[in-house]
């Protein structure tokens, strides 16, 4: 028993030292300025959303239904993002604009196009096929799962007459 307690004590001290080091590192490591990042994200995201709205309005003015116009808006933004990714312009926009560029559908398109370009050299099946969703995969999986879960809750509430 004595030996065991000595070992646990040693581990405890080590854990404490590691924690201290982690805190010290946090202090000396510089970080991006959060307010500045928020302003940049607001501007970038705002521009992308304005662009989307312009597409939506134009599609509407051509007499398209709201759903169809929305689909055109998404498709064109995706196309734009993929083209900018291909020409290696998107990373620069994302570096400046952060979440402003990544949260809209443009970020999603970039996260699929980038692996497709990078892994194309490993072949159509094991390269692009297996690795195209390495970044977007979790978003797709848990996105689908979450909507299934919400659908289930909605259905249960409907059945029990709450809604």
């Amino acid at each position: 028993m004595g030996k065991e307690s000595v070992q646990t004590m040693k581990e405890f001290i080590e854990e404490e030292q590691k924690q201290q080091y982690n805190e010290y590192v946090k202090q000396v490591t510089p970080t991006h300025s959060l307010p500045m990042q928020m302003v940049k994200a607001f501007v970038t995201g705002g521009i992308i959303c304005c662009l989307g709205q312009a597409i939506l309005n134009y599609a509407g003015s051509l007499g398209l239904e709201k759903d169809i116009a929305g689909a055109w808006c998404s498709m064109l933004l995706v196309l734009l993002s993929v083209i900018l990714t291909g020409f290696n312009i998107f990373p620069g926009i994302a570096k400046w604009g952060g979440a402003g560029a990544l949260v809209p559908i443009t970020g999603f398109a970039n996260s699929v196009a980038a692996p497709a370009i990078e892994y194309q050299k490993e072949g159509q099946v094991f390269g692009i096929g297996c690795k195209i969703f390495t970044i977007a995969g979790p978003v797709i999986l848990y996105g689908v799962f979450t909507s299934w879960l919400l659908g289930l809750i909605y259905w249960v509430l409907m059945m029990t007459g709450v809604l």
Binding site: Y21, N22, V28, P30, N88, P91, E118
Partner: protein, 336 residues
């Protein structure tokens, strides 16, 4: 004079010479503060190949060939090769040195690889197992990003503590005579883990290992930092440097006047937007070949402790929640 010194160091009786060195780098490194000192700057990131991995292999082949061409006349041809890189199963090395047809010892020490290669090469020469030995390493921004982080075109924000992988390759030929710089002693490093899990703050992950090796080296040899013109770490970057100086101070050594870091020398972090500095196997190797070694050969620096640093992680260990331990190897290079 003892060969086996202290707890983990070696002092060479007949210190092997670094008889020739070669450095080849990419465009970004060529635009950096050391740009004019490199032997060759490769403008094409693909080096005329089809993939990042092949490009890195091509860099190794070029650097190795160049170093062997620069060897002084009269020395026998290179007999053994010590080389390594960052890629899985050392593919940059295997495919890069294949055409050289030299007996190969493949090494992995993350970004500290050139330290490991130089130590083993020096031991091989001192031991009399070969007259001429080649120590080689490489890294490539494209292949490293692809393996450890994200595809290059992926948009994201790098934290300020992140470093930029150097594209390039450094090669050194060691022999019992025929140069102006010699490896007089080495202190191989241990794996040191302070429990940090942030793979984008590698300087902080490696600083404890650098401190451990430097302090152990000074104790083993009974020296002080003032016995060196400079103590030069591999790729701690600006964050790692701050931490190293603090940690060494705690152990009673003031390195502030003596410390340089290859990662901080190779880029202009403001102009080149590299954040904390350079990293990768090539970072310390090309800086040694192009910047440090010429100063020692010209006797501007008499004795330098070269300490390449490595962060020991893979995407598997990282995803499985392991910390990022570090390793650092100390190589004493003296004029003579």
């Amino acid at each position: 004079m003892e060969t086996i010194v202290g707890k983990q160091s070696i002092q060479f009786q007949k210190a092997p010479y670094i008889v020739s060195a070669a450095s080849i780098v990419g465009k970004k490194e060529g635009e950096g503060p050391l740009g004019s000192q490199f032997d060759a700057i490769e403008e094409d990131p693909m080096v005329g190949q089809n993939t990042w991995e092949e490009a890195e292999s091509a860099l190794q082949k070029k650097a190795a060939t160049m170093a062997m061409e620069k060897m002084p006349a009269g020395l026998p041809p290179v007999r053994y090769l010590f080389s390594g890189d960052l890629l899985g199963q050392l593919i940059a090395t295997s495919f890069g040195v294949m055409d050289l047809q030299l007996p190969l010892f493949g090494l992995y020490g993350a970004c500290s690889t050139i330290g490991e290669a130089l130590m083993l090469a020096a031991m091989t020469v001192q031991g009399g197992y070969s007259e001429t030995v080649l120590a080689l390493t490489s890294s490539h921004f494209g292949s490293a990003e692809k393996q450890f982080r994200f595809p290059l075109e992926y948009g994201g924000q790098r934290p300020l503590a992140a470093t930029w992988t150097v594209t390039g390759s450094g090669a050194f030929v060691l022999a019992p005579q025929g140069g102006k710089a010699r490896i007089s002693g080495v202190t191989p490093g241990r794996v040191v883990d302070f429990g940090l899990k942030d793979s984008l703050n590698m300087g902080a992950c490696m600083a404890p290992a650098a401190c451990d090796t430097i302090c152990q080296h000074l104790e083993d040899f009974g020296r002080q930092p003032s016995d060196y013109d400079y103590i030069i770490t591999g790729d701690l970057g600006s964050v790692g440097q701050t931490i190293l100086l603090d940690l060494a101070k705690e152990r009673g050594y003031d390195l502030s006047e003596r410390h340089l870091d290859c990662g901080m020398l190779i880029y202009d972090s403001e102009k080149q937007d590299t954040h904390a500095g350079g990293s990768g196997c090539a970072c310390s190797a090309v800086t040694l070949a192009a910047h440090i070694l010429p100063k020692i050969e010209k006797n501007q620096w008499k004795r330098v402790l070269f300490v390449p640093t490595g962060a020991l992680l893979s995407t598997v260990s990282y995803n499985e929640g392991q910390s990022v331990p570090g390793i650092a190897h100390g190589v004493v290079i003296e004029h003579g």
